[in-house]
Amino acid sequence: MIRAYNVSKVYENGVVALKNVSFKIDKGDFVFVVGPSGAGKTTLIKLIFKEEEPTEGYLVVAGRNLSRLKRRDVPFYRRKIGVVFQDFRLLPQKTVFENVAFAMEVVEASKKEIHRKVPLVLELVGLLDRQKAFPSELSGGEKQRVALARAIVNNPEIIIADEPTGNLDPDTAWDIIDLLKEINLRGTTVVVATHASQIVNTMKQRVIALRKGLVVKDQERGGYRIEN
């Protein structure tokens, strides 16, 4: 589903965020991407999402070589991927409901469908009672859950979550991870970049560890620490 071929990313200011990264994630996989702050996790996700372009190498996602993807095909490609951004990226002028609904409006879902589906996913992330609030009226963890709701509402082929539990208490965090695992069991590929070592250690899923832009570990049923 996601393949990286010798991908390197150097930002304009000279920071080398990724160095010669290669991996292969298959359809239906559940993968944790771990690594210290600044290791390149978010950069990797941005590349998969085609928010940034690799300096070297290329990625093939859902059968498309991203380097060759035409500009006008990018939106349609992105619709296959649900992303929980580390900085949430909620639309400030839209309510919780509208933020989630927007993802469905983009794919021109019917109004009926939207009014059926959005409350469902808001219920899943535990925010149904806050649906009329604007992002500025939400707590950190609530924003994070809205971002998750938006990412899953269209049943994408791939879900990528960047630190989806950073602002959540352990209980809520586990609910979210369980939700992602459940979605994964229905066939969706899930990639989670996280620092939650307990969760990674307990879940015993595949772990790709980055450090200073290099893949330092790629282990089935791995733990958070590089050494274990």
Binding site: F49, E51, R72, V74, P75, F76, R78, R79, V83, F85, R89, L90, L91, P92, Q93, F102, A103, E105, V106, V107, E108, K111, R150
Partner: protein
């Protein structure tokens, strides 16, 4: 595009206008202010044109007729003159009338002319008004070639001067109008550009969620159009109200300065509303372009 989708875009646009309160007001204000200035100058320019045309139409050619013409012949000459291209008005002035006028002009010295009535040395004449100063030369030439016309006179110097002055006033006024039109477009698009710039992250996010360019563009397009329309309407309202008031004040205080009637500007109001809508919608659409490239 489906009607349902279009309705959605309109709804999004209207919602966005309300939620971006200050930005919306700022954009509408910029459109209104810019078009107000432009409108003022259009009104001024058109009125200058109108007044200048009025002045121009005062230019007079005098065609002195041969002595001893029959009334019929005189009438024929009059008819011939009126048919010349560029002639606006022809008035016959008899010998006697000419002398009367002459006396008028001399005022307190008119006793000099006493006794001339019997042996009036002044000829019959036609006074001709041309449509524009440009026509005067041509008309004078044509008239002088008519049989029975003894001599044609007109203030060549005055006509030439007037012609140059009015042409330059027109050029200058149009030049300023062009400048103001450009400035108006600049001010409006400038304001739209910053309001869109302030929302660039929003546009980025929409793209990241998989929205196509057009899906993002349409609400902005409609929003820009509505703001342009509203701004233009405000400007039109102020202009029309102000002009109406000005006309009324001038009418009650002096009737010398004759300005264009207000109904003359109805068409222009329409164009202005159209301009507002176009600048608003295109301004938004062009401004978001670079933020769509993610």
């Amino acid at each position: 595009m489906k009607i349902r989708t279009f309705a959605y875009f309109v709804k999004e646009a209207v919602k966005s206008m309300f939620r971006n309160g200050l930005m919306t007001l700022a954009s509408i204000g910029a459109v209104a202010a810019a078009l107000l200035v432009l409108g003022c100058f259009i009104i001024i320019t058109l009125n200058i044109n109108y007044i200048v045309s009025d002045i121009e139409s005062q230019v007079e050619i005098t065609a002195y007729l041969n002595d001893s013409l029959e009334n019929d012949q005189i009438n024929d000459i009059g008819r011939e003159i009126i048919q010349i291209k560029g002639v606006k008005e022809v008035v016959f002035v008899s010998k006697a009338q000419a002398l009367e006028e002459f006396k008028e002009r001399l005022k307190e010295h008119k006793n000099i002319l006493i006794g001339l009535e019997e042996d009036n040395p002044l000829p019959d004449s036609y006074r001709i008004k041309a449509l524009t100063p440009e026509d005067v030369g041509f008309v004078a030439e044509k008239v002088s070639s008519i049989k029975g016309v003894a001599e044609v006179k007109y203030a060549k110097e005055v006509v030439d001067k007037l012609f140059t002055i009015t042409r330059w006033i027109r050029i200058i006024a149009l030049g300023f109008m062009a400048i103001f039109a450009l400035v108006a477009v600049f001010i409006i698009s400038n304001t739209i550009k910053i309001t869109v710039f302030a929302r660039r992250k929003e546009i980025n996010i929409m793209k990241y969620i998989g929205a196509t360019d057009w899906f993002i563009r349409w609400p902005f397009f409609i929003e820009g159009m509505l703001m342009g329309l509203i701004g233009a309407s405000i400007a039109i309202g102020i202009l029309m109200g102000g002009y109406y008031y000005l006309l009324k004040v001038l009418y009650t205080h002096i009737r010398i300065i004759k300005l264009l009637p207000i109904k003359y500007f109805y068409d222009y109001a329409g164009y202005m509303a159209l301009a507002g809508a176009i600048i608003g919608s295109l301004g938004s659409t062009i401004s978001i372009r670079k933020f769509l490239k993610v």
